[in-house]
Symmetry: C2
Subunit: 348 residues, 2 copies
């Protein structure tokens, strides 16, 4: 190796070159192709040849170079996973599911976060597709994903999660956002609340739109009027939440319950409520880790990220098997986990 010269000082096993099929073939006294047959478990190898080759593989510690194999075959046995933030428990759980399924098929999972930046989404996704993976699972942030069109044309299977993709025809796995909020609202209505406030994310976000629509639809379906100043949408943050709560607790007509539209808003709301006299019933979209430790308890609408990841892998497999199939949009059910909040009648 050329860099041996710069490796002065290395003692014994100075940077050994990996054994290749060629090395194994020489050691076993067979042709390279025969080694390939053995490595790939083809059955047309005579027993004693097989034995000799396997022995040489063991002796040299040979392992197949997947990169070379994949170049030859035109596809990398891998799945790209682009999420908004892998440190977000929701996406981490999706990642776990994807990884679990990938392992069964001996696929490598390449992971990256967009951190809600459209340019990064694109950069990370294209960085993955340049490796020619079998599939790409993507939590879309950018307005359009049409930068993936060439990859799709070339046979890449794509599945959107959390939000649908735009500008490309691909499968998608989404939570049933509206139904989740319906569960939350009906839980509160059922226990006697009528003055219910809603705090949601910026309506530019797809899921936020679906959730607030679910809120309005459910309230309307039960003939409960909604005061517009009790439906507040904005970027989660202390200022937004503080202002929203101030309006909702206007003494002339305070709400008795709150529905929060995502976990960042929930956290902010709970922090604010700790310092306020009003203690409205809160039902939150998104489960919180350790929510069962909170006192009072917090009733939540839990998404099912593992089911989402699983379903996404299913859809990828189906698309790889039949690239012509119609793109499908799957809705994963959410469920209400009652932990006390909203189960007492309104207190004012």
């Amino acid at each position: 190796m050329s860099n041996n010269s710069s490796q002065i000082g290395i003692t014994l096993s100075a940077l050994h070159r990996r054994p290749t099929m060629k090395d194994v073939a020489e050691a076993a006294g067979v042709a390279l192709k025969t080694v390939s047959r053995v490595v790939n478990g083809e059955t047309t190898v005579a027993p004693d040849t097989l034995e000799r080759v396997q022995e040489a593989i063991r002796r040299l510690g040979y392992r197949r170079n997947e990169g070379a194999r994949e170049l030859r075959q035109g596809r990398t046995q891998a799945i790209g996973l682009v999420v908004r933030d892998i440190a977000d428990p929701f996406f981490a759980a999706i990642g776990r599911a994807v990884e679990h399924r990938a392992e069964e098929d001996e696929l490598v999972v390449m992971i990256g976060s967009s951190h809600d930046d459209p340019a990064r989404e694109r950069q990370v996704a294209l960085g993955f597709t340049a490796r020619r993976p079998n599939g790409l699972i993507l939590a879309p942030i950018a307005k359009r994903q049409d930068y993936l069109l060439p990859d799709i044309a070339e046979g890449l299977a794509i599945c959107a999660v959390d939000r649908p993709a735009q500008g490309i025809a691909c499968d998608a796995v989404l939570s049933d956002n509206a139904a989740g909020i319906r569960l939350a609202v009906e839980h509160l209505l059922h226990h006697g609340h009528r003055r219910i406030g809603y705090l949601g994310d910026d309506p530019a976000v797809f899921t936020a739109r679906e959730r607030v629509a679910g809120f309005r639809a459910t309230m309307a379906g039960h003939d409960v009027p909604v005061n517009e100043h009790e439906v507040r949408l904005g970027s989660p943050g202390p200022d937004f939440v503080a202002a929203a709560l101030r309006t909702m607790f206007d003494p002339s007509d305070p709400v008795t319950a709150l529905v929060t539209g995502n976990n960042r808003i929930t956290a902010e709301v709970l922090k604010h409520l700790a310092g306020r006299p009003e203690q409205p019933a809160v039902v939150a979209f998104d489960d919180l880790e350790l929510a069962e430790l909170l006192r009072p308890g917090l009733t939540v609408i839990a998404q099912d990220p593992v089911a989402i990841g699983d379903a996404a892998m299913d859809l990828l497999a189906k698309r790889l098997a039949d690239p012509t199939r119609e793109p499908r949009e799957l809705r994963i059910p959410v469920r209400l986990i009652p932990r006390g909040s909203g189960e007492a009648p309104p207190t004012n």
Copy 2:
């Protein structure tokens, strides 16, 4: 393409073959090698040639096949990351840091979980190294990692995190476990506690040993006697925790404070304490997401997973630059986040 025949029904852009450098070269009327020069930003290309090639690249939508490049160069521009569970917030945060650094260097991150299974650790790690990545970051679970010796000999940079690796010489980045527990104990001692219980993980776990050793050392350093039945080590779980608490709250001589050795134990302890009359001061190793929402507050020893991931990437870079350097073990400081618990004097 051979599979065009099976693609009956595809309309317009039936599975296009990706353009290669050869295609670009033909389109631009230059040699393949010149395209390579342009793609790699070499400066020895005449301005008008450059222009022609770039135009052809744009027109064909050419993107370099990283797999082929990496085969040629012998290394995949990638980092393998094997953690215990990517859905664990601690490892997810390490993942985020690694990914962030990797992105700067245009490295792909391959991620996988061992789920505390030595065989899986090995399988996942070897699956990654078969792709010849630049580096591997590993949270060791298996007794020994010597299955990686061939990869090391071939130039793979390895860095252990969370726990040291065994059977191989490699860098490691660990939390300063003993110092963390010292902070916890001294926090309690400082506020008047003397009867302090310790609940830790199974001593088979490296970090658990370091932490309980920190507990004993600190108590001894302050001349506070330790009752053996108040130091309980075992696999986190309801039964273990319930039994441990029963002993510690023995009416004849109950503890007034508890130190918990990891987050699973902490969660279990808090659940149990909610149903008990005793309300000892708890200081926990590992921060909990949303711990600030808990009432009463929970003082914690927070590890710094982002710093761990960062440091691991640093060490990999240094090792790649100089494969002969001595392996180093880095200790990342932890810090105490006071949130109220343990700040009042003992109540019994």
